[in-house]
């Protein structure tokens, strides 16, 4: 039986601009129902990678495939199947949100009869109802960003590429955006570039970290996020009492009421918390310790020597 074709596949995709290598031999795959967080410091090659994924830039080596077909041999594939929000939302300031989104819908080959409903759905999903008739040039940065997201999703593309979508959003809008990205991730393949690590933890299933144009880390966001926990207890405990729990491999006292506890790989937090309660430790707090994603990102960002992709 053959494996299903991924929605997006980068096969050794690289990009040189003006003689300089911006992105080097990327291999990535993404399927419907997955959200990929793309991380990297400024200049790591994230935007160039996203442009290649969206069909705006052609790779100078390797290829970008959409459902198994080379995007740059058949650019028309992207018309219905890719939604792209660039770093700066591509808005026409003199139009209002409805006019602009109606044009975007037609540009992405939404049938004429379905344009009004597609625009209405995108406006509702992005919370643009109050500003639908205001010129885009008069909108705040947050609203402009949301119109940009709306244009990327209104034609229900297979692949949605979002470059810094939370830029300029207030905290409530950013939370709503997380919800939106999560919901989009159920039916679409979503690539999200951001500097906000909690956004990746909250929205993404997988993460890819770029550094100097190379893929340095690719993996599941939640795979190792439960190994280290910070636990508050009301009883004074000894390390041996923690080690008596079957899923605990190490415990370190931070202060009499707080412990850093390492769980065995694959252990469930609910089973751990149930065991803590059953042993009468007096559980008062339970939180992830230093997020592993942040540790990995900072370690990669701090390294300057090129390395093979993980």
């Amino acid at each position: 039986m053959t494996a299903p074709v991924p929605t997006l596949a980068l096969a050794h995709a690289g990009r040189r601009i003006a003689g300089r290598t911006i992105v080097r031999a990327l291999d990535l795959e993404l399927s419907r129902g997955e959200v990929l967080g793309l991380l990297g410091v400024n200049g790591a090659g994230k935007t160039t990678t996203l442009r290649m994924m969206a069909g705006v830039l052609a790779p100078t080596s390797g290829c970008v495939r959409l459902d198994g077909e080379d995007l740059h041999e058949r650019p028309e594939l992207g018309r219905r199947r890719i939604g792209y929000l660039p770093e700066v939302p591509p808005l026409h300031a003199e139009l209002d949100a409805e006019e602009y989104l109606a044009f975007c819908a037609r540009l992405h080959a939404v049938p004429r009869g379905a344009v009004a409903s597609a625009v209405a759905r995108a406006i509702e999903r992005c919370g643009l109802g109050d500003v639908r008739r205001r010129p885009l040039g008069a909108l705040s940065k947050g609203y402009r960003q949301r119109v940009g997201v709306a244009q990327a999703i209104l034609h229900e593309p297979d692949l949605i590429v979002l470059d810094e979508p939370a830029s300029g959003l207030d905290p409530i809008q950013a939370l709503n955006l997380r919800e939106l990205v999560r919901s989009l991730g159920r039916d679409h393949a979503v690539v999200l570039s951001t500097h906000v690590l909690p956004d990746v933890s909250a929205c993404c299933d997988r993460v890819a970290i770029l550094h100097h144009g190379e893929l340095r880390h690719a993996g599941n966001v939640h795979a190792s996020s439960t190994t280290s926990l910070r636990v508050g207890v009301s009883r004074v405990l000894r390390e041996q009492e923690w080690r008596a729990l079957p899923m605990v491999v190490a415990a370190e006292s931070l202060d009499p009421a707080h412990w850093r506890v390492e769980l065995a790989p694959g252990s469930a937090i609910d089973a751990f918390s149930a065991a803590v309660v059953a042993h009468g430790f007096g559980l008062t707090a339970l939180a992830a310790d230093a997020p592993p994603l942040e540790s990995v990102f900072l370690a990669i960002a701090a390294s300057d020597a090129p390395a093979a992709a993980a």
């Binding site: 601009i17 830039l57 700066v88 139009l95 975007c104 080959a109």
Partner: protein, 253 residues
């Protein structure tokens, strides 16, 4: 809907929303109306003397054609102002990725921009054309000659629009695009000036000049070679603009 017409229609909608387009149209119509009234007054003053002449020129030759010839001169700086935003404006506003990521081919994007700008220029030509045509209510006009002149003007405007779109695709700044388009158009307008001063009117250099081909239409002659010349200029410029868009997919901005 065809993507070319969709983009052209969108260009039109955007132009309608911009005070710049309305101001430009108002200035052109006001200036040409002033020229028209001056020419008409001169004709009225001259008419008694012309009455005694055999085969004397009429209102078409003395009012309508000079007005349209004057419009052709005005189009040289005017069209670059219309086309300068086609691509340079999109790049400056960072909106070009919307088109590039849409899956619509580069040629159709260029054609859409061309048709949108060309449509606006044609409306200006039509507005100015109503002035001499209004004289038909009170006098007889050589409608065939006027029709030939308007066809020539439309083709001339198409070639200038092609040059403007090309320069807009090459330049990153709208003002630079307008300046380059005007310089290129003006060069094509005067490229045979030296030869003409020496009495040479039928050499290869004359063939390159825009006015050589436009003048035939003003004389009421519709020749396929002149139509072909304007069509060729438009086609070559649009092909080069498409190539430029191909190259832009490889640039960092």
């Amino acid at each position: 809907m065809n993507a070319t017409l969709l983009i052209a229609g969108h260009e039109w909608r955007r132009l309608r929303m911009q005070p710049f387009a309305w101001t430009l149209a108002a200035v052109v119509v006001a200036f040409m109306a002033w020229q028209f009234l001056l020419a008409l007054q001169a004709f009225v003053d001259l008419a008694p003397k012309l009455g005694g002449l055999k085969d004397a020129p009429g209102v078409t030759d003395l009012v309508a054609i000079p007005l349209l010839r004057s419009l052709s001169n005005l189009l040289l700086p005017l069209v670059p102002l219309v086309t300068m935003r086609s691509f340079a404006g999109e790049r400056r506003a960072a909106t070009l990725p919307l088109l590039l990521a849409s899956g619509v081919g580069n040629l159709r994007i260029v054609l859409g921009k061309f048709v949108g700008a060309f449509g606006y220029v044609l409306v200006l030509v039509a507005l100015v054309a109503t002035m001499p045509l209004a004289l038909a209510a009170g006098t007889s006009l050589d409608l065939g000659k006027i029709a030939a002149s308007l066809l020539g003007l439309a083709l001339f405007a198409g070639a200038l629009t092609g040059i403007g779109v090309l320069c807009s695709a090459w330049a990153a700044q709208p003002a630079l695009a307008a300046a380059a388009a005007f310089a290129l158009s003006a060069l094509l307008a005067v490229v045979d000036a030296g030869a003409r001063l020496q009495g040479i009117t039928n050499a290869g250099i004359n063939y390159l000049a825009l006015p050589t081909h436009l003048e035939s239409f003003f004389r009421g002659i519709v020749a396929s070679v002149d139509i072909g010349y304007f069509a060729l200029v438009a086609a070559v410029t649009l092909a080069l603009a498409t190539r430029r868009l191909d190259a832009l997919r490889g640039s960092p901005d």
